[in-house]
């Protein structure tokens, strides 16, 4: 009986979800969601591919002379040399100068000791895409919220709404999860085939992908459905059947979560500083970046709240309007601010790391290529994260702008110059992008630079100067990129803004 009822309810939810699929806004939402989830799946698969690479077969290294040395079963090794080359290969050589011969993979992917770090990096790249997907699921469109409210009005229970919301994303999630493999193959072509030997980031597809594929697809679907169910209760119904968007101030529980994440981060840092060479440190150094990003994302909304409050105190109408809008829903821009804070931190680390290269004294071409390549690759990944964060910003801001079209048009009607409205949006965008990015860059560069100065600088003046220089470069790089991103977002928002400001918007509900 109840089981039959549940099945009926599920079927009804599927029908509702399908019938709204024709709505253009909803189609756009699903396309965006699908793209974001596909990228998540692709990077998860990348992490799997890189992580399982060494397990797939014997590990081979290439000598400087061009011979290939492969580990054999019983602890020995076999050597294959190109014709005309004969090199003395012995155990000692392994401690010397061997290039991993793994289809031209970049050294930090090829060497098993460094590989976990790359896996972590791939996992970190999932974060901005996942947050982007979460954003799309959460906000959806104003039309979707009204639809859910209308369903509510017609007697749907909140369980029904959750079911409908889940049905809306289930198909998209599944397709996106499955599309992860083709997307990964594309990524492999781009990063594992096209780059010159020694710069390739992804190994050729192995059997692990076959097992990983359905697992990742399932993971993506489940995550999307869970997020959608949590986001189903978007508003309340008022007398004329429209939603009143529920204010979502930061709660005590989100404060607790932020506090706990920050605590874990501090604990990890302490562990690392106290015992930099202990067994735990190896794990900590891998987990630390994940915790760092989690802490940044958790702290993002609080940063937005702080910035919003500061705007209110400034008192100019543009600042007040921007501040109020930031405070009205600090979570959505907060997640972007968190990602950009993490981006800033990473830029700060990457830039200061240059000091470390020179401190280690290894400045021959191979080392420079190794470290430089690593830093460049890291900056590339950071840039990708920043771009995705900027896109999240655009989606969120466009949503807010279009949602507020009537009041925006009324604002213009009562005599605000269009430029004023544009400035409000620009202030909003900048406060959640440039400020966190610069803050992160300062903190990141100071932390690592400071470490070098104190622990390894040994009173050398150039280390101090370089650390300061690194802070400046990191701020310029992160701040500039964030400003560029904000400007790009502003450009993309021009159309929705103009639409919101037009008289036509006075005719909308």
């Amino acid at each position: 009986m109840t089981r039959g009822a549940a099945a009926r309810a599920r079927r009804a939810a599927a029908v509702v979800a399908r019938s709204v699929g024709g709505d253009p806004a909803e189609r756009r939402r699903r396309r965006l969601l699908g793209a974001a989830l596909t990228c998540c799946a692709a990077f998860l698969l990348a992490a799997i591919a890189i992580g399982t690479f060494g397990l797939a077969g014997p590990e081979c290294l290439r000598t400087a002379g061009g011979s290939t040395v492969c580990l054999a079963g019983g602890g020995g090794y076999s050597v294959t040399s190109p014709p005309g080359v004969s090199e003395p290969i012995d155990d000692l050589t392994f401690g010397g100068r061997l290039v991993p011969d793994t289809s031209g993979l970049a050294p930090y992917v090829g060497e098993s000791g460094l590989r976990p770090g790359v896996v972590v990096a791939a996992l970190l790249l999932v974060v901005p895409f996942a947050l982007f997907a979460l954003q799309v699921v959460r906000l959806g469109s104003a039309a979707r919220e009204r639809r859910l409210a209308a369903l509510r009005l017609q007697g749907s229970t909140s369980a029904d709404l959750r079911r409908i919301a889940a049905a809306e994303v289930r198909g998209t999630g599944l397709v996106a999860g499955l599309a992860g493999l083709p997307a990964y193959l594309g990524l492999w072509l781009l990063l594992g085939v096209l780059p010159p030997s020694g710069w390739r980031l992804l190994p050729p597809p192995g059997p692990a992908l076959v097992i990983g594929w359905p697992v990742v697809a399932l993971l993506v679907v489940v995550a999307a459905v869970l997020a959608a169910r949590r986001a189903a209760d978007v508003g309340t119904v008022d007398a004329i059947g429209l939603t009143r968007r529920r204010a979502r101030p930061l709660s005590r529980s989100s404060a607790t979560a932020t506090g706990v994440t920050l605590g874990v981060l501090l604990l990890g840092l302490a562990l690392f500083v106290l015992a930099p060479n202990g067994a735990a440190a190896g794990v900590v150094v891998l987990v630390l970046p994940l915790v760092f990003v989690a802490a940044a994302v958790a702290a993002g909304p609080w940063i937005v709240v702080a910035v919003g409050r500061r705007h209110l105190r400034r008192g100019s109408p543009v600042a007040v309007l921007a501040g109020r809008r930031l405070l009205a829903d600090p979570r959505t821009p907060g997640r972007v601010a968190g990602v950009l804070l993490a981006v800033g931190l990473a830029v700060g680390f990457a830039v200061s790391d240059v000091i470390g290269i020179f401190l280690s004294g290894r400045t021959d071409p191979y080392d420079l290529a190794f470290f430089g390549g690593g830093i460049l690759t890291a900056l590339g990944a950071i840039g990708l994260a920043a771009v995705v964060a900027a896109l999240s910003l655009v989606v969120g801001a466009a949503e807010q702008v279009l949602d507020a079209r009537r009041p925006t048009a009324a604002l213009v009607a009562l005599g605000a110059e269009p430029g004023t409205v544009v400035r409000v949006v620009r202030t909003q965008l900048r406060s959640v992008s440039v400020l966190p990015a610069i803050g992160g860059a300062i903190v990141g560069a100071t932390l690592l630079g400071g470490w070098f100065v104190v622990a390894e600088g040994g009173g050398r003046l150039w280390v101090m100067a370089a650390a300061l220089g690194a802070v400046v470069v990191a701020v310029l790089l992160a701040g500039g990129a964030a400003a560029l991103g904000a400007a790009g977002a502003q450009r993309l928002l021009r159309r929705p803004l103009a639409e919101a400001m037009s008289v036509e918007s006075l005719r909308t509900a």
Binding site: V320, L321, R406, A413, T420, L506, R507
Partner: protein, 251 residues
């Protein structure tokens, strides 16, 4: 049938003189729209409408749904540039003003009240009412004091610290009226200001608006399809299908 022109023009004056006449607006005219035409993609909304509003006059623009009332109001308030015809608002030819100048004119001398949903959702009632003053660079303290004063006069002091989403329709309209009047406008445009309210609340808001406008000696253009609302005006201009079907002095 002919629109009963209230202007002193002789019939058959060539269009060039029309424009010249618009330039020397008679001292009493707050708004002078002539030959206003506007079409949307497929619909012709206005087919050449004349509308003149004198200082201190309350004019009702009535007509069946879709006859072009809102379009006329938007053109008169400089929110929309009509495809043909001239609009002279407070002595300024709107076609000659840029978007920012029109915004400035509205901010300083024009009040606007719409049917609903015109308050900034993120601001409290006081901040909403103070907004036009703040946008004009007035100091925040004085602006808020004046805003509170107007909220009180409009009987909305109880919701001064309330967000628009937590107000009733009538309260929100009172706040909107306060916001339209706080700058001391010379002319107020109202598009169905009571359209979303029940009769009692509607009558109260309307009474408030008309009384405040009359007290200041300002003008009011009141778009409505409600006869009882129109009966508050000094003059009725009736639009039917984009043309003035009739005009009547009610005073």
């Amino acid at each position: 049938m002919t629109p009963q022109s209230t202007s002193g023009d002789l019939p058959g004056t060539p269009p060039a003189d029309h424009r010249a006449a618009a330039d020397r607006v008679p001292a009493g005219a707050v708004l002078e729209a002539r030959g206003v035409q506007h079409a949307y993609r497929r619909t012709v909304a206005l087919r050449g409408v004349d509308l003149r509003v004198d200082a201190g006059e309350v004019v009702a623009v009535t007509g069946p749904s879709g006859c072009g009332k809102s379009t006329l109001l938007h053109a008169a308030a400089g929110l929309l540039v009509p495809q043909a015809g001239t609009v002279t608002l407070l002595g300024q030819d709107l076609a000659g003003l840029g978007e920012d100048d029109r915004a400035l004119l509205r901010r300083r001398q024009v009040g606007i009240v719409l049917q609903f949903g015109q308050l900034v959702p993120e601001l409290t009632a006081v901040d909403n009412v103070a907004l036009p003053l703040l946008l004009d660079g007035r100091p925040a303290d004085g602006a808020r004091r004046l805003a509170l004063d107007w909220l009180e006069r409009c009987g909305a002091e109880d919701v001064a610290a309330t967000m628009p989403s937590d107000m009733s329709g009538g309260e929100a309209q009172r706040v909107a009226v306060a916001r339209a009047l706080v700058t001391g406008p010379s002319v107020v445009f109202a598009d169905e200001p009571t359209g979303s309210l029940d009769t009692l609340a509607g009558r109260q808001v309307l009474g408030l608006l008309v009384a405040a406008v009359r007290e200041r000696g300002a003008s009011l253009v009141l778009v409505t399809h409600d006869n009882t609302v129109a009966a508050k005006a000094d003059r009725e201009v009736r639009l039917v299908d984009g043309t003035v079907a009739s005009e009547a002095v009610l005073r």
